[in-house]
Symmetry: C2
Subunit: 160 residues, 2 copies
């Protein structure tokens, strides 16, 4: 998968502070499907100010990264479950209904962060994604997210 799933989001739903290509001030997280492992991957190099206590990555940034990684992963896994190719078919837009984070070890600030995700459930409207945050190959945080298709009530603000 050569294009990030977020770069295939419909224009009206590409303003996300975490991952929208239409948000010039945001993080611009990018999630890809890795055919070799069957996992989704999001990589991000935190900036020096993304500190918790000195030397470690801010947990809120990690939550943001896993949040957008999970909604992007939901779209990828949904498309794959329908036999479609992410990046070629129309991309469904998922939002987070529940997010769980286990900060198992402190995450050192400096090296690039890798998040790897897999689907544990792909339903009609709901997808559950489990993720691992890795830094230098060491797992420091685990995430579990319940994603649902963008509800009608959230689509009303688009196109303005």
């Amino acid at each position: 998968m050569r294009i990030a799933i977020q770069d295939t989001y419909p224009e009206d739903f590409a303003h996300c502070y975490g991952c929208g290509y239409r948000n010039p001030k945001g993080h611009r997280f990018k999630t890809y499907y890795d055919e070799a492992s069957g996992e989704t991957v999001t990589r991000y190099a935190p900036r020096p100010e993304h500190t918790a206590v000195p030397g470690f990555v801010y947990g809120g940034l990690i939550a943001s990264l896993i949040d957008c990684h999970s909604s992007g992963s939901a779209a990828i896994f949904k498309l794959l479950s329908e036999g479609k190719t992410p990046g070629e078919a129309v991309t469904p837009r998922y939002v987070t209904a529940r997010l769980e984070l286990d900060y198992r070890k402190p995450t050192p600030l400096g090296p690039e962060l890798w998040v790897r995700g897999r689907a544990v459930e792909v339903g009609e409207r709901k997808v559950i994604v489990e993720s691992r945050l890795l830094v230098g190959g060491v797992e420091t945080v685990r995430g579990r997210a319940v994603l649902v298709l963008l509800p009608e009530t959230m689509a009303r603000g688009a196109s303005r």
Copy 2:
């Protein structure tokens, strides 16, 4: 309580991107104890770029807000449990071990966000805080955080 708990953190642990007074680029969340309700309160006005889809607040920002609110609340509730006055005694520094977020309704972008927290457990090293995010008086998100006293392994980066 007239001073925010984050403004009483030891200098070496006041660099947090979410709430540190020594981080000039961060959000600077401030948490207070509200004697009338017995709850902790953190208020924040999101910026226009803190978007999920147009018209709604980015979930990662909400996770960040509830994260720092919870660690600040843990310090407040721990001090109160020891009969101390937050802002006058030395403030313990908590970090997040687990964070759970239930995004029950979309959170409209515009009005100030209020987070209200209460302790459901105050132990020797661990505190559990439950929080509600309110916007215009309507609850949109619930959070539950497990906080632990800053471990030795995270204190090594300080003072550099």
